[in-house]
Amino acid sequence: MKFKDGIKEKNIIVKCGADKFLPFAITFGLYVILFGTVSPGGGFQGGVIVASAAIMIYLGYGFHIVSRALRSETLRVGEALGASLYVFLGLLGIIGGANFCRNIFFDNGEVGDLISAGTITYMSYAVGFKVLTGVGFLLLLLLGILAPDPEPAKPAATETKEQIEVKETLNETLHTEQKEKEAVS
């Protein structure tokens, strides 16, 4: 195990695997969120896939890098923002004169297009963003509770015998000096 800036580096295979899978996970997750109205998936499913990025960074790099890459304050505020956006989109129905969660611009595109379902599309994006940040924050908290990586061990005794002897004689002289001072005072 090598040491790099005092942080233990993980196994090379796991690190390479995390490197290669990470952009794929994020892109695929964002695809599932964005195309929620035309293909299977949607907000929650895509959000969980993107949040698995946190676990991948942890597996490849360890907890210190993860906590530097994803800041928990931002994630926490982002989750609440996503949820408020969802409720606000629902309240648009009441502002528009109908009931709550009414799809008020539902005929603005053809079936099969990306932006075609009115309020439902944006609600799905809001849910995806909320789940992304929320599950990421949850994973970050749980990973933080796990046992931290052990400190890098001190280098083994590489001092030569002469250096040890010099140290011992120095210690002896120090001790004798202290005793003389005490004897005097």
């Binding site: 929650f44 908290l141 749980l142």
Partner: protein, 119 residues
């Protein structure tokens, strides 16, 4: 053939209840709670199946004109199951974080030793 699904779901619920009632390790109790949730999810999804039906993605004009075969599986239990899966995941996350904090405080995850509130 859905009878297999129903039997499997009831077996899962029964095993989950057995685990919650007899095992002493707190983590096993959390796993039992999860098993009950999975069994109930399987039950809900199985209720929506219609033999020979297709996926429920149609336009209203197709259904009214009779262009499509018009026989599809029920989409409502699928929505119920999604919600239930989310709820199950959240319950397990909360329970496991409570178990971690209990371990830090009580130094044990055995149910016989985590009993300061009694009587």
């Amino acid at each position: 053939m859905m009878i297999v699904n129903y039997i499997a779901s009831f077996v899962l619920i029964a095993l989950g209840l057995y685990t919650v009632c007899t095992k002493k390790n707190l983590i096993k109790i959390v796993l039992g709670m999860g098993l009950i949730d999975y069994g109930v999810n399987l039950l809900i999804v199985s209720f929506g199946f219609n033999e020979g039906g297709t996926a429920p993605i149609y336009q209203l004009s197709d259904l009214l004109n009779g262009v499509a075969s018009g026989y599809f599986v029920d989409p409502v239990p699928q929505a119920l199951t999604l919600t239930s899966i989310v709820i199950g995941a959240c319950v397990e996350a909360m329970a496991l974080s409570l178990v971690i904090m209990i371990y830090r405080k009580y130094r044990s995850v055995n149910a016989d030793e985590v009993r300061r509130l009694r009587g």
